[in-house]
């Protein structure tokens, strides 16, 4: 899923992998938002994170 356009088969497959059985109508409805979200998420892949460890909390003292 590296291109901006996502076809219905890919959406079906992605939803199935996540454990959801959504109708084609439901998938078509979210297609623009999925495409926009993936475009946005790809910006994370361009960041040089070096050796940064994933942080889930600020810091607990």
């Amino acid at each position: 899923m590296t291109n901006d356009r996502i076809d219905l088969d890919t959406l079906r497959h992605g939803a199935q992998l996540a454990g959801f059985a959504w109708s084609d109508t439901e998938l078509e409805e979210i297609r623009p938002q999925v495409e926009a979200a993936l475009r946005m998420l790809r910006t994370l892949e361009t960041v040089d994170v070096g050796g940064a460890e994933p942080t889930t909390h600020y810091r607990t003292v």
Binding site: A18, I30, A37, L44, V47, T55, T56, Y58, T60, V61
Partner: protein, 470 residues
């Protein structure tokens, strides 16, 4: 006594403790105002009138008997309807939980009760806190009280909290903030809202949106009232392992009004540059006000802060879907369609996205820490725009057009991502009378300095004293 419903919580607490006013009068004044106005404002989902009056009579008896009382004894408040309340339904703003009645109070509800506070009711919100506009199709869209002619957004997700406090239906409220849900309605409704440091306040008994981004905090008309509420709810809770064991300072005592030498970093790039001109001008004027009172203001840039949008999308989306997956499989039709769509989109966030977002999160956190290494607080607008009309989709920002949802979240979610404390206060009004908000961001667990700066600003200005006509 006239206008008890406009009195700050600190003043109500003082008057009740000195027997100048009875908790019964105070609670009744607020319940009467709710009854008179909330049909139009839609800020409450459940009003606890009988229980509040019973609690007020008990509180009155304690004062009359001379028994020791807590710092919020007899003072009413209301809470976003995602805090568990024993015996009172907690809907999360959803039809799905319309009949969900918890057996126990959330930790913060219990702590406020121990401090003597009285619950007026449960407040409207975006369904499951998943959205910044403040709308709710199930319980009615809360109405921003600052425009009688146009139905404007209150901002969310703690929209009922913003409306109730701004309109004098409650002197204070609890909100929650995952991407700005305390500070956005505070900004759009012209009130004060504090998002404490992640780990400062327990989330136990609070319906989650995203565990690692959710923050619990007060929404009030004055900074002093937020300090009072924070003092009651902050501190370690064994039921929430993310809470800190750091001692809780006396936040009210920190409000000295002194700004001399306070180092303020004004966030221009991304923040001021991205704000609508009227917002930018108000925040620049606020910076000048702080400088005029002795603060040392310089400009600072956060290079990576724009990544907080994508990072938050990954983290909030993945965590929210994890909580909702089963309900989404079995009861999707009962969700607000907008919320259901957001959750469905989250199914396409990968494990790689989530972990990469957490790595970026570490970088953003370190960058904010670095900016605060030589400064006490950072200053930025809370939102780039003032309250949009319900139905408005596009906004014009300082650096171009944006959809309203993205615009509302833009300046607040970086500090959910980083976990730093941030306090939103009103800093101006448009010519049309809509509030403008700014936020002061501080070092981790240094809410005292953030509150001191915000309170000092309120001592120098009168924006927080203006009232909407409702």
């Amino acid at each position: 006594m006239a206008d008890l419903f406009w009195a700050p919580m600190t003043e109500l607490a003082r008057m009740i403790a000195t027997k100048a006013v009875s908790p019964v009068e105070v609670v009744r004044a607020h319940l009467d105002r709710i009854a008179a106005l909330d049909q139009g404002l839609r800020s409450f989902i459940t009003v606890c009138a009988d229980a509040a009056m019973d609690a007020a009579r008990t509180a009155e008896a304690a004062v009359v008997a001379g028994r020791p009382v807590g710092p919020l004894h007899g003072v009413p408040y209301a809470l976003k309807d995602l805090y568990d309340t024993a015996g009172v339904r907690t809907t999360g703003g959803s039809r799905i939980f319309a009949d969900r009645v918890p057996a126990a109070d959330a930790t913060v509800v219990r702590r406020l009760a121990e401090a003597g506070a009285i619950v007026l009711g449960k407040l409207n919100m975006v369904e499951f806190a998943y959205g910044p506009e403040g709308l709710n199709p199930h319980y009615g869209h809360p109405r921003n009280p600052w425009d009688a002619g146009t139905h404007r957004m209150a901002g969310g997700s703690s929209s009922g909290s913003g409306v109730a406090v701004a309109a004098g239906l409650a002197p204070g409220a609890l909100g929650s903030d995952t991407g700005g849900s305390i500070r956005i309605p505070a900004s759009l409704c012209g009130i004060t809202g504090l998002k404490p440091t992640y780990g400062r306040v327990s989330r136990s008994g609070v319906l989650p949106l995203a565990w690692s981004m959710d923050h619990v905090g007060p929404m009030t008309r004055t900074v002093a009232d937020s300090a009072l509420m924070l003092g009651a709810i902050a501190g370690y809770d064994p039921a929430d392992p993310s809470t800190s064991v750091l001692p809780v300072p006396n936040y009210l005592a920190a409000l000295t009004g002194d700004l001399k030498g306070l180092r303020v970093g004004l966030l221009r790039s991304f923040f001021l540059d991205g704000a609508a001109p009227v917002v930018r001008a108000a925040v620049e004027a606020a910076a000048a006000t702080l400088a005029g009172a002795g603060a040392v203001v310089d400009e600072v840039k956060l290079e990576r802060v724009d990544l907080a949008g994508a990072g938050s999308l990954a983290v909030v989306g993945a965590e929210a879907l994890a909580y909702h997956a089963e309900l989404l499989r079995t009861r999707a039709a009962e969700y607000d369609p907008d919320v259901a769509r957001r959750l469905r989109v989250s199914a396409f966030i990968s494990g790689l996205h989530y972990v990469r977002a957490q790595q970026v999160r570490a970088l953003v956190r370190d960058e904010v820490d670095a900016a605060l290494a030589r400064r006490d607080v950072l200053l930025a607008p809370s939102t780039p725009i003032v309250a949009p009309a319900v139905g408005e989709r596009q906004a014009t920002l300082g650096d171009g057009p944006a959809d309203v949802r993205t615009a509302l979240l833009r300046f607040t979610r970086p500090f959910n991502f980083s976990g730093h404390p941030a306090c939103a206060v009103p800093c101006g009004f448009t010519e049309g009378g809509l509030p403008i908000g700014m936020q002061l961001v501080g070092r981790p667990f240094d809410e005292a300095t953030v509150l001191r700066a915000a309170d000092a600003f309120q001592r120098l200005t009168d924006f927080h004293t203006r009232r909407p006509v409702v």
